[in-house]
Symmetry: C2
Subunit: 225 residues, 2 copies
DNA sequence: CGGCTTGTTGACAGTGATCAATTGTTGTGG
DNA sequence: CCACAACAATTGATCACTGTCAACAAGCCG
């Protein structure tokens, strides 16, 4: 692909509402970059949310991660500049591009410590994701997801029990490695058990029994509960 | 945990055969570091192989990755110096420790480009791992594993069809998110189909039909084949 | 040789995928 | 503003894959 594809693309798209320096405001559902694109740097979410995914030639889509304020993404391209994944914004978002040259230039005044630290945080999150995917029941996967999202929100100063999901059921299902139908069933099951409450028939979920969810994730092989 | 835990530990253990600079030769099955340890840097495999894993309080073990010559590991600790995973060597191995100070010190003569690049490579590999874990059949998981291992070997100048696995069935199974029994069954199934051959009743596998394996990984939902 | 770990195989049950149908939600144009 | 279409989400019935439990074979090392 072309050099600076993503940057050039963004600049020419009509979805850019404001630009100053390397911060962009992107509208919902817009594609930031796609598999195979040559990225000119690493991205950071300032506000809003982004999903990262791969799609195989057979059309299957696989969600690799969701990113919120403060998160880095596009790290797939660190090795050779070419992204292995695509990224779209889930809601109106503010994104910053950190050019590779700046990251690698010793003369630049970038904070290596915090950059490396952020990379490490992303790394750990992905490992947790892999852990959950590898051998957990659908119930455990969803419990983990809800807790993770809750933690992410509370770390950013929002309520830990009132979740407003920016992504669709399908996105969550693909992220957790189950099909939508299964996810839907588990959600209603959680509702009936009183663990959560689906509010306003929409994408807002209230966590009622966070400790039970925690136990579900931690407990060894207690399928029941 | 203590500062420099892993380094100090290594120096005092009897499993160190030779030390010069930061390169260690470690015997098989020895623990390099464990969950919660404070690492003083990132590790690199010079020769041999290493596995990285987590164990939950319930005793379940989860294999996060295998590392061969040239690979970095211990990246879990990039964020705050504390490792989220344990690491053991699978065979006699030569390991280098790259201290954080060196990595972050601009005055040091370290090659940031290659370091960042290596981090990116590890990142991509983990993403592939997560992809396979999320919704693939056991057959596809094993096919992917065999291909990945084959690629790793051929990139290092070894035969792409003669695999000598340094890890147990259990390790592979936990890495792929299935139980040993399932892995065993798939292996014999692959044998009967003529895709692979188990040589010498041991941990050496010969790949006979690599293209069929490739198709298994790529193909959409062809469970049969 | 005998204990111990690793690996294989069988029978059965359970979880989740698939297929199909229905309802709810969003968004666009008349 | 409503109507219709497209999409998102839920629910049910069925079946296949894989986990579980159990037994057994095969290396490994004392």
């Amino acid at each position: 692909m072309n050099q600076l594809a993503s940057r050039a693309q963004i600049n020419t798209l009509n979805n850019v509402h404001s630009i100053y320096r390397d911060a962009f405001v992107i509208r919902s559902h817009e594609l930031l970059f796609k598999m195979g694109d040559h990225l000119s740097g690493v991205y950071r979410v300032n506000s809003g949310s982004v999903k990262s995914f791969k799609s195989s030639e057979s059309g299957e889509e696989q969600i690799l991660g969701f990113y919120m304020a403060g998160d880095l993404f596009g790290l797939d391209a660190l090795s050779d500049g070419i992204s292995r994944s695509s990224a779209v914004v889930l809601e109106a978002s503010n994104i910053t591009l950190l050019p590779f040259e700046t990251l690698l230039d010793r003369e630049s005044n970038i904070d290596y410590h915090s950059f490396i630290k952020q990379v490490g945080i992303g790394y750990n999150r992905d490992k947790d994701h892999a852990m959950i995917l590898s051998h957990c029941t659908a119930d455990r996967r969803l419990a983990w997801f809800l807790l993770k999202f809750s933690d992410d929100l509370s770390q950013r100063g929002y309520s830990a029990s009132e979740l407003t999901l920016p992504m669709t059921r399908r996105d969550i299902a693909l992220y957790l490695g189950v099909v939508v139908e299964t996810l839907s069933r588990v959600l209603t099951r959680f509702c009936k058990k009183g663990l959560i409450r689906l509010r306003g028939h929409q994408r807002s979920i209230e966590i009622l029994e966070i400790d039970t969810l925690r136990r579900m994730v931690l407990s060894c092989k207690n399928r029941k509960n």
